[in-house]
Symmetry: C2
Subunit: 434 residues, 2 copies
């Protein structure tokens, strides 16, 4: 399958040619084959007219729990303790693989319609997520979030359910769909595990050549309790056990120290900024300008939709570009360009994927944004409009791995009616008894 | 014209019956005639099936400069000084009434499509704004933002262009369209005027029974310079000159003091919170939880789109409900309900309009939100979903003053193609020479 996007404004995220007007972008199979302002030679199976539209790399949601779409808005308005213990945990206790598949499909529908082409996910019933992602067509780095609540001295990988699960997931899913699914090693968080698990997970990632996902310093109390218990911050502590040897995704990083930032820059750890979730759960505001200055790769995530309550990454882009200006009283903190980089090229780097940029040879993860909509007109600067004016609803085409999976409100890999029926007919009754 | 909305979930903002499921809301002329769970007697000219949709009061944008839609994203990425002096002011210098009409129509299109039914606006060429608003069908409190840069001792209302303009505007427009247009008295800000103008404006508002619009304590330097110059804060200083005798709209209020809040509560001054603009321009984060606690009426605004860069009030609702949690580390600060109140009933109070609530006798400013969209499903709590998951793009019907002016992407009072042609063919070439 070959496809040509013509007469489009391409916001490439490629510093060699950042914005190309009246551009031609050709796709061959799963890859971008050419990018330029002259029409490429040859015939194409399909030609899409991009007049009045902006083409940009598909968005990368570098930290989410996609199946939590089922719990959108559930328990809202309560403090964190009651929200988790009285609402979220009891609901999650009732989940099964079928619920998680339904929640994943629902979450993916929202993500695809709003321009996401790649995700890093951490959740239970990971097989169900993998199957659903394969059908949906986007790329995903999946992890199950390893925990260990036993006595540290009793730890044995053979008896640790999450270790066995991770081993199995790698066997079954790593590289599935010609690389569409990658399995990442994972540690849910420092406070839900122990040094033996960290050592095992670091070794596991090394042996299998995997990425790593960990929740890091999301709340002040988590960060400070770690310091009290171990005399180190979570970033430094896990570093001691080799967890970051292959880099990794550190989700949240709201309370990381300056020393943590140095480690993160040196070890190629990505800080995934989740501004909406961090505000909603009153976790605080991550020091993103300082992380950028320290050379840390910063990506964006929505976190689970239960603490957001949206999967629209354009919202995270805008908030990432806004909040550090206002909180730091610095109108030049986090530019529109930097916020877009977080959601594209930086996210791709976090996931270890060759995407996030419109350039020949890159994976054809591409979205078209309709700039004729009243909220995107006029356009004095396409990057400013993408960062501060665009919404997920302006996305009129989502191409993942060279295949158009969504166009003008229509899904080609997901059946919205079927998803609704499954959520209403099975998942919600099972979880909530309704 | 009579109309019935049936089988709708009504989020009424009326404490007597906050959320009504499978409700019937009848409209007769410009007013809501009945609200309940039983079908009202009689025949209706039109019946709208609201199954799967939420009906709520139309949104009130209590501080904007709507015509600035022309400058969306212009000069982005620069600090405030350069943004204003090198970009915004030179562009505004080139405006004429025709440009302002075009920008107003464009901004109104965006607002109407995203659920706004009432605005408070402050901008030049106010007649052009009034004409365009009348055509568009929403309600507007218009002001021209009185300034006086002359020597205070030379002030004379007869020679003050803005005083004469305000007198003329009241004559020509106050109450036009059977109350669709109200002219508010206005002082652009303390730092762009002088005591004689404040006295005159207070008297002008009193004589004509007008509302009042003023920019208040938007930036720290503005607030502190006022203190240095007059030994008072802007709120207290204007109070001394009688400006707040009839209440009023104080836009921004980022740096108001505790004492200011007491005055505001006592004098029925509305603080209009503009969270996006305040972050984007690095003005800071208004102390909204403290204002609410002090009993101040807090409403929401987008400010001009040049510093936002969107007119979607759902974004302000969400940010108002998020930011105070995260910045104040308080997960219970500004609830979903409170944020919706700011955008509806509190906004109506600010504008002095009998709207913002779904109840018999109130003006029929109503919007329908499609809850079958993937981003609003499932719905555990309609108020949570409206505050944290809804986007302007979920609005499928906008009824202003009893008349459906927008439905499923179609505008009935505005011609989007004509607006685009006017912006591209006249306004942008005039302002930017392109």
């Amino acid at each position: 399958m070959s496809l040509l996007l013509e007469h489009v404004t391409a916001v490439t995220m490629d510093s060699a040619q950042p914005v190309l007007k009246d551009a031609f972008v050709a796709v061959e199979g799963t890859k971008i084959s050419s990018v330029g302002t002259a029409r490429p030679q040859g015939e194409f199976d399909r030609v899409i007219d991009g007049t009045g539209k902006v083409l940009m790399p598909g968005l990368v949601n570098a930290h989410t729990h996609v199946a939590m779409a089922l719990l959108r808005g559930y328990g809202g308005g309560h403090d964190l303790y009651h929200w988790l213990n009285d609402y979220i945990f009891p609901a999650e206790d009732k989940l099964d693989a079928r619920c998680v598949a339904a929640g994943t499909a629902l979450g993916l529908a929202e993500m695809i319609a709003s321009g996401t082409t790649c995700i890093a996910d951490m959740y239970m019933y990971t097989d169900a997520i993998a199957k659903t992602v394969l059908e949906a067509g986007i790329s995903a780095n999946l992890s199950c979030g390893g925990v260990y609540f036993g006595a540290p001295e009793d730890f044995s990988p053979d008896k640790c359910g999450d270790c066995q699960n991770q081993l199995r997931l790698v066997e079954e899913w790593h590289g599935a769909g010609e690389g569409q699914i990658l399995v990442d090693a994972s540690i849910h968080a420092e406070y839900t595990s122990c040094p033996s698990l960290w050592e095992w997970t670091a070794d596991f990632a090394r042996r299998h050549g995997l990425g790593m996902q960990v929740h890091i310093s999301e709340t002040q109390s988590e960060h400070e309790n770690c310091w009290k218990k171990y005399g180190k911050t979570p970033v430094a502590l896990l570093d001691q056990y080799g967890v970051w040897e292959r880099g990794g995704i550190a989700a949240h990083c709201v309370w990381v120290s300056d020393q943590d930032m140095d480690i993160m820059a040196q070890k190629h750890i990505t800080a995934v900024h989740n501004p909406v979730s961090n505000l909603k759960l009153a976790s605080g505001v991550a020091r993103v300008p300082q992380m950028l200055k320290a050379g840390v790769n910063v990506a964006l995530g929505t976190d689970g939709v239960a603490s957001n309550n949206s999967h629209d990454l354009f919202e995270e882009i805008k908030l990432a570009a806004l909040i550090h200006k206002g909180v730091g009283l610095d109108p030049e903190a986090v530019t529109a360009q930097q916020a877009l980089e977080m959601a594209t090229v930086n996210g791709a780097r976090a996931l270890g994927l060759d995407t996030g940029v419109i350039a020949p040879g890159k994976t054809a993860d591409l979205i078209l944004v309709d700039f004729s909509a009243p909220n995107l007109f006029p356009c004095h600067d396409a990057v400013e409009n993408l960062a501060f004016s665009a919404r997920g609803s302006n996305v009129v085409m989502n191409m993942a791995r060279g295949k158009v999976i969504y166009e003008k409100g229509e899904f080609f890999t997901l059946d919205l009616e079927k998803i609704r029926a499954e959520v209403e007919g099975y998942a919600l009754p099972r979880i909530f008894g309704i």
